[in-house]
Symmetry: C2
Subunit: 211 residues, 2 copies
């Protein structure tokens, strides 16, 4: 009974797509990100997040039904951001390799400016329920298809070496791009825009080939 | 009192360097790897590992003092394997870019044959105590210096493009190599040797440059 009431309240607060309505919701997600990043999702409790927000746990349950909601919304928010990168570049009339350069550059810049969110994304996605994990995984596959498609196009026109399976090469591209979340240290390393440009150079040369 | 006795017994069983003596110890580490991989280190208990081995928890404490010992020995074992790759290639008289190719090829082949161990390595190293984490991190830096050194050599001789900081480029190389542990599926993907050769091609071209 109590659970169903909490659920109803949470649903009232959320929009049609299950996301929290804006206003103080970005504060809630920022607090969840901070707690999940520092303690790990499994060890973090709703109480920890309420403490971070300086509110009562009961108030937090106005926004959510369970801890997993916060993880799902966080991952979905990151995906919404990078989906807009994909959509914009996909709709442009750049040649395939320049699309790949822009995509890599903007993804790496996003990653190096959102290190905690990306760490949560790559560490914790498997903690989602099966349905929600499927939803996130399918969004990820859109990116894999996009990059593999650009590599295939560039191979077909001879702009890139005919060096094997585009989906395999796309995995190496993603490795260089994604791993940034593990090693990048703001202040110690070059600014995001420069790291992003260097990564795009590396990746393009790997795809184009040297001989 | 009881704890100190367990510690003494564990030390008797271990060799001078704190590793477990061989014989059934590889079974213990295999069981720990299986449990840490499937449950995650934080959620796994010594009891889970004893269950996996079909022995009493007390018997397992003949080998270890605490759960963290198993994680440390696992990570150290992986490092010993890849250190021998580094040492062998470092001592060879191949030119720098061929050293980099061999290094990449053998690391990726190792990763794709040891997916669970590598997943534990990259997910859980931060769970170690500060001293042990420092030890593992310093071994990792040897690899970073080795790869950055090869890139610097190849840049100096003009074999690679003079394309910026070798340590930065080394991070992109490691990304392509390491990320294999996240996407590689035996059976679905090409055999380890072919994926490793393709990754080495990609990385070499990224370092050499296309123009």
């Amino acid at each position: 009974m109590a659970k169903s009431t909490a659920k109803q309240r949470a649903e009232q607060r959320r929009g049609e797509n299950g996301e929290p309505t804006k206003r103080r919701d970005s504060e809630v997600l920022d607090a969840a990100a901070k707690v999940f990043y520092s303690r790990g999702y499994a060890a973090a409790s709703v109480q920890d997040i309420a403490d971070e927000l300086n509110i009562l746990k009961g108030s937090l349950y106005h926004y959510i039904e369970k801890k997993e909601d916060l993880l799902f919304w966080l991952l979905k928010e990151s995906h919404d951001d990078v989906e807009s990168i994909l959509a914009e570049i996909g709709a442009s009339d750049l040649p395939p390799l320049e699309k790949l350069r822009e995509y890599t550059r903007r993804q790496v810049e996003y990653t190096s400016r959102n290190l905690e969110r990306m760490a949560i994304y790559y560490r914790e996605a498997t903690q989602l329920s099966a349905d929600r994990h499927r939803e996130i995984a399918s969004k990820r596959r859109d990116h894999e298809r996009f990059v593999a498609g650009l590599i295939a196009e560039a191979q077909a026109t001879g702009e890139a070496k005919d060096g094997g399976d585009p989906a395999l090469i796309a995995n190496f591209v993603f490795g260089s791009m994604i791993w940034v979340y593990r090693w990048y240290k703001p202040g110690r390393d070059l600014p995001p825009a420069e790291v992003a440009a260097a990564c795009a150079d590396f990746v393009l040369d790997g795809v184009i080939g040297s001989r």
